[in-house]
């Protein structure tokens, strides 16, 4: 059994990789790619910087795009981007280890700074005195303390940002110059400068755009040099290990194991793992509460329908469950919110959220309140808020499960061992409970397999309707903000939970049926 579980867990990895690849490709290969999405092209008003992007001037836009390219590596092909993301997310890392800052953020080795485009045209504008001196000069003392290291990081970050910004501006200026010089098609579809476009052509210093480009080039080159210098210093300090390293070595120098780094959410500027840690428990709470509820209602319902098969009870129950199944989750949620929850109608339940305002101040269990009245307490308040969402999640599962129960029980009832049990003299109730139900439970466990993904799907909508801050809401917001990191991490989490649930179902099945041995 243990072997089987371990093997299945290992098989999960390719599945998860596959899931992330599918989503990554979806996001990356969409028209315009992630870049266009992040730049807000076509969102028509959604997303940070979306509607406003088109109204910036070319230089600022270029700077913004350069920033995004830098941060997300958007200039590279999709598969390279994926590889980079995978390397970050995988717990098994190759090469030197990253460092961990005191606040938990993972500090990676600074990557190379990109050169300004077509800088050779302006080679004479290179600032003097850069180079080795500065690189080794950064080895000056005082760089070993975390504070000094943080200063170095900050310096590099600033320099890098400046280099990026000036590079963007240079690119825009070069495009303008190329157009003025009559060069055909200087920019590609994304507005980036085509490489090699100036090959073999003499610079047209007479054009006003040339002067603009030159000034931009000077700024870009000096910023680049500064960024290179600070990078050198940072690298040297990095290798001296001022902060604790992330993870631990498996093969020293080559392979290490560290916690996966899911990145930082673009739209919220918080680490994705923190967002997940807040949202995932909420979604799991809703689904896990709904699950036993479903089984509690569906199994007796199905058993009753099977016991009274062919009578009006069976027909009525069947019809009721089909009708319940057909009710769209959106409709149920909207009706529930509208009629049961809003103050204008019944107002029985809270309309949104998981906690009342000021819930944090409440005691956990019900007891006497602050002003002498009776206070419900945190737990009861939570349960009260969770009632409607869980009910809306659960009702869909009733139909599926009860129908399966009924079918399984009817099939079992026709089997020979039930006839033997009756021939032994057992009454109808014992026969039903001990011989029919027990044998019918086996397919119900595997039913779990299809119920759980459906519920996870449903919880997206329910969370939106009831404004519950779970994974569903997170994902929808991420879609509208085009936040790739959150999307990927979210899909990964949900897919992982799903696959784990399937594994659990298999293990339970093996435990329940003595004929099955997991190979």
């Amino acid at each position: 059994m243990l072997h089987y579980v371990i093997r299945r867990l290992l098989l999960m990895v390719p599945t998860l990789v596959g899931i992330s690849l599918v989503v990554f490709l979806l996001v990356g290969l969409a028209p315009g790619g992630v870049g266009a999405a992040l730049r807000g092209a076509g969102t028509g008003g959604g997303g940070a910087g979306g509607g406003g992007a088109a109204s910036f001037d070319a230089g600022t836009r270029a700077a913004m795009e350069a920033y995004l390219d830098e941060r997300y590596g958007l200039a590279d092909p999709v598969l390279v981007q994926y590889g980079r993301w995978l390397a970050r997310v995988s717990p098994i890392k190759f090469g030197p280890r990253d460092l961990v800052a005191p606040d938990g953020e993972v500090v990676r080795r600074p990557g190379a700074v990109r050169e300004p485009p077509a800088w050779r045209l302006f080679a004479d504008a290179l600032p003097r005195g850069t180079g080795e001196a500065e690189r080794s000069g950064g080895a000056a003392g005082g760089a070993d303390t975390p504070a000094a290291f943080a200063r170095l990081r900050a310096a590099h970050a600033t320099a890098r940002a400046a280099a990026t910004r000036t590079r963007g501006e240079l690119e825009a200026a070069l495009v303008a110059y190329a157009r003025a010089a009559g060069l055909p098609e200087p920019a590609d579809a994304d507005g980036r400068l085509r490489p090699g476009i100036f090959e073999g052509r003499a610079p047209r210093a007479d054009l006003p755009e040339w002067a603009v480009a030159r000034i931009a080039a000077e700024a870009a080159l000096s910023a680049f040099a500064e960024a290179e210098r600070t990078r050198g210093a940072l690298l040297a300090a990095f290798d001296r290990g001022p902060l604790p390293s992330a993870g631990f070595w498996v093969l020293p120098g080559l392979v290490s194991v560290a916690s996966p780094d899911l990145g930082v959410a673009f739209s919220k500027n918080r680490p994705v793992s923190a967002l997940m840690a807040e949202a995932l428990p909420v979604t799991l709470l809703l689904n896990l509460l709904a699950l036993p509820f479903i089984y509690l209602v569906a199994i007796p319902g199905g058993a009753l329908a099977a016991a009274r098969a062919g009578t009006w009870v069976d027909g009525a129950l069947g019809g009721l469950f089909v009708a319940l199944w057909s009710v769209p989750a959106v409709w149920a949620g909207v009706l529930a919110v509208g009629f049961l929850a809003s103050e204008r109608h019944l107002g029985l339940f809270p309309a949104s959220g998981l906690h009342a305002a000021g819930a944090d101040a409440m005691a956990f269990l019900p007891g006497p309140g602050v002003d002498g009245g009776w206070e419900a307490g945190y737990l009861l308040d939570l349960l009260w808020h969770v009632c409607l969402p869980v009910a809306c999640l659960a009702y869909g599962g009733f139909a599926v499960l009860s129908k399966q129960t009924r079918a399984a029980m009817l099939e079992t009832m026709g089997r020979d061992h039930v006839r033997t049990a009756r021939a032994k003299g057992l009454g109808p109730r014992e026969v039903l409970l001990r011989h029919v139900l027990r044998n019918s439970l086996l397919p119900l466990i595997t039913m779990f397999v299809s119920v759980f993904p459906a519920m996870l799907s449903g919880s997206v909508v329910i969370e939106r309707v009831f404004s519950v801050p779970g994974m569903g809401s997170l994902m929808i917001d991420a879609i509208q903000m085009r936040d790739r990191e959150v999307l990927l991490a979210g899909v990964l989490m949900v897919g992982g939970v799903n696959v784990l649930a399937l594994l659990l179902a298999d293990v339970l099945y093996a435990a329940a049926d003595p004929r099955v041995t997991l190979g």
Binding site: G310, R415, D416, H417, R419, T420, A421, R422, A423, K424, G425, L426, G427, R434, H435, R438, N439, L442, A512, D513, P514, R515
Partner: protein, 385 residues
Amino acid sequence: MPLLEVRDLAVSFGGADRAAAEGGGRAMAVDGASLTVYPGQTVAVVGESGCGKSVTAMSLLRLLPSPPARIERGIALFRHGGGQGGGAASVDLLTLPERALRRVRGGQIAMIFQEPMTSLNPVYTVGDQIIEAVLLHQPETARTPGGARAVALAAMEEVGISDAARRIDAYPHQFSGGMRQRVMIAMALACRPSLLLADEPTTALDVTVQAQVLALLREIQRARGMAVVLITHALGVVAENADVVCVMYAGRVVEYARVTDLFDRPLHPYTRGLLACVPPLDGGSGTLAGRLRTVREVVDDPAEFARLVGHERGLRPWWPWHEPPTGVGTESRLVEMEPGHWVALWATSGAREMPAPAPDLPDRFPQAETAAGGLVRTGRLHSQG
């Protein structure tokens, strides 16, 4: 004193499908079956597939699913607590209230089935299933810890399952076919019933295992004085194990006699046809050299019918595929042609004059000798499995 008297049992099957497809009406699976079982006796019910023998047995315990199946008429008088002595009350199984019938099932009348593979619940251990039966009918065993388990163990050992103490906690799928049938028998007999209905208990087993199981049944029967209704389609089994034989066809009893009388002097052409299918070891008389006659040939042969005593008085054996004599319709009559030998005849006027009491034979043959000359093994056989 007979233990069980079945008189004119009729069971029909019907339902929505049938009604729509065949223009209404129900199908009579059993149409007027009668038999009598005495304590310690083995009555074999013989016939081909579809003749109604299983339905007869299952309707005694009312195990048939009742929307499609319906008991049209008949009584089945069973003597509660009937053993060798007399004097216990008789009840009609067909009209007994459900609760009382449940006490009879398993406790007084036990039934074992054809397919041991599927007749045991795969998710419970064998011991659990036997103990369940024990606790149901002998609740006093529950008072002592391990009391019911001890009874179950004893039952398993009695049917010849070696290493019963370990095997009692095994699952059905861990047993072989023959062993499973032994488990079924153990489960059936754990509560010491006075009558065992065995519905083709060995059909699904191979021949050697078949012989072992039958020998086991005979042994237990002799030890406890239990009566057995043995449903089978194998004449060899009948010859070796039965005291009284009831031949059925198309839901009616066609012939009813002692086993010796039946094999020596079959009266109904169908029975003669069945026996003619058995290849004679000596090249036999009455058959075409080197060729077996089919049942159809025998039954359709007018000469066979003419052999019936009383043919000149207009007595014709009942056979549903022949034209009935004029004015008879579909009615048949189980007539005692010779003392202790009943045959089904068309209900002609001649037949109506003949005596037709309900078939009733109290004979029991000691196990060692049967006139048919079959080999009989005595003593218990230990299982090898």
